[in-house]
Amino acid sequence: MVKRGLDTHKTVTQGEWLEARKHLLTQEKEFTRLRDRLSQQRRELPWVKVEKNYVFEGPSGKETLADLFEGRSQLVVYHFMFAPDWEEGCRSCSFWADGFNAIDLHLNQRDVTLVAISRGPIEKLEAFKRRMGWNFKWLSSGNNDFNYDYQVSFTPEALENEVEYNYGKQKTDSSDMPGVSVFYQDSKGNLFHTYSAYSRGIDILNPAYNYLDLVPKGRDEAELEWPMAWLGYHDQYEDRSGNTKREAR
């Protein structure tokens, strides 16, 4: 763990702290209002009709994109990075999944179905899901163009040049990248793509980062080899519950 010299931090009386805190509160409230406005703008985006018939492999057989809605009108897809030749799902995506695993049933109450989709074969997805103890629905798009069309997977040829990711050109070695896509199904069964976000656009969908944004050290990633170098699979930490009392350092 990198020490950042917290011990030189300014300490004050309760009254002085309160004054500084209230000043920050004004900025936080402004941020919350901006975020609400942005959510409204997001919903005002035009929609694009989905003309292609995507068929996925699910836990109990083939399912079309329309099937994935499970009778609801809104579908949120988490593009989970799990390439066909990988033996484990992406570690960072697993971190995201730990955050949404238990909330999909709450979303269902608001007419939203949340699923994960990856290119990996369904057997691998199922095995990894069992290992991680997750409940959300996870489907394989290994036999269709879905991941390529929504710009989260790239062919070996495409990777030789810059690829289109997060609405810009960039060079990457990774065949699969993370993202979120949203679809709407109207009463006639027409499907529409409404929204996609990638890269740091899905940052706020990992609430753990919003929690880290409140603590004194913050995300504390600046001095690591890469930002998420501290991250493990939840079943591979020495202390798996976060509950164990450690020896004081």
């Binding site: 917290l6 931090h9 300490t11 004050v12 009386t13 002085e16 702290w17 209230k22 920050l24 941020f31 901006l34 975020r35 997001r42 919903r43 985006l45 035009p46 929609w47 694009v48 809104q74 949120v76 730990d98 949404f100 238990a102 909330i103 049933l105 709450h106 979303l107 109450q109 007419d111 939203v112 949340l114 997060n166 609405y167 979120v180 109207d186 006639k188 027409n190 529409f192 793509h193 929204y195 976000a197 740091r200 656009g201 969908l205 753990a208 929690y211 880290l212 944004d213 409140l214 603590v215 004194p216 995300r219 991250l231 493990g232 930490y237 202390d239 976060g242 509950n243 009392k245 450690r246």
Partner: protein, 256 residues
Amino acid sequence: MTTHMTGTREEWLAARLELLEAEKELTRRSDELARRRQELPWVRVDKEYRFETDEGSASLADLFRGRSQLLVYHYMFGPDYTAGCATCSTIADGFDGFAVHLANHDVTLSAVSRAPLAKLQAYKRRMGWTFPWASSLRSDFNFDFNVSFTEEQQREGVIEYNYERGGHAMDATQVPEPVAQNAAMTGTDAATYSRDRPGMSAFVLEDDVVYHTYSTYARGLDGLWGMYQWLDRAPKGRNEETGGVWWRRHDEYDKR
């Protein structure tokens, strides 16, 4: 048929790119706010708080469990509630899944409530959660961090929550429907329910001294409430125009 505007992929992309700029700007503002939070001065905690935990009686320093940073989720579970607040439960459903990651990044996330430990333990078992949860029943902790209030404060209308007096729905003379619903789900009346409030406080432990660094309440918790961030991306948004509390505890929905 949908009445929403539809377009070609290119038209959508043009609108999306414009929105992307606004999203990036918001992300930068969020980073900036996080920096400002870290710059807040700290307040030394001199009071000796005692908590009841699964491991026995504990001090505030003990709640850090060997780490240098502590996040306390002020979970609404007053001594008279028959069950934990259902709204807090949806927040806890989220952090129960990732508290282990925070623990491995020098942050202990612990819930603290006023209800006696036995009630917290039973409810935690029912919900299948594993995060640490301490009872502050016999200390001033909840009152000092402005998440619990006395009947007298309530009567006199002097409750200060979220850094302002009488500004919250739970302070309204006419009880709003969501407050009444939440109260009913905890087996209490609105007044009893409203004497406990939600919040998140951050502490740091350095050379055996605990400092309070940050607290947030009310909509300050919005970004910590996983389900809302996802709903904010759905076409219907939070979809709450009908009012009232649409969520239940995860074991109270009709079907899974």
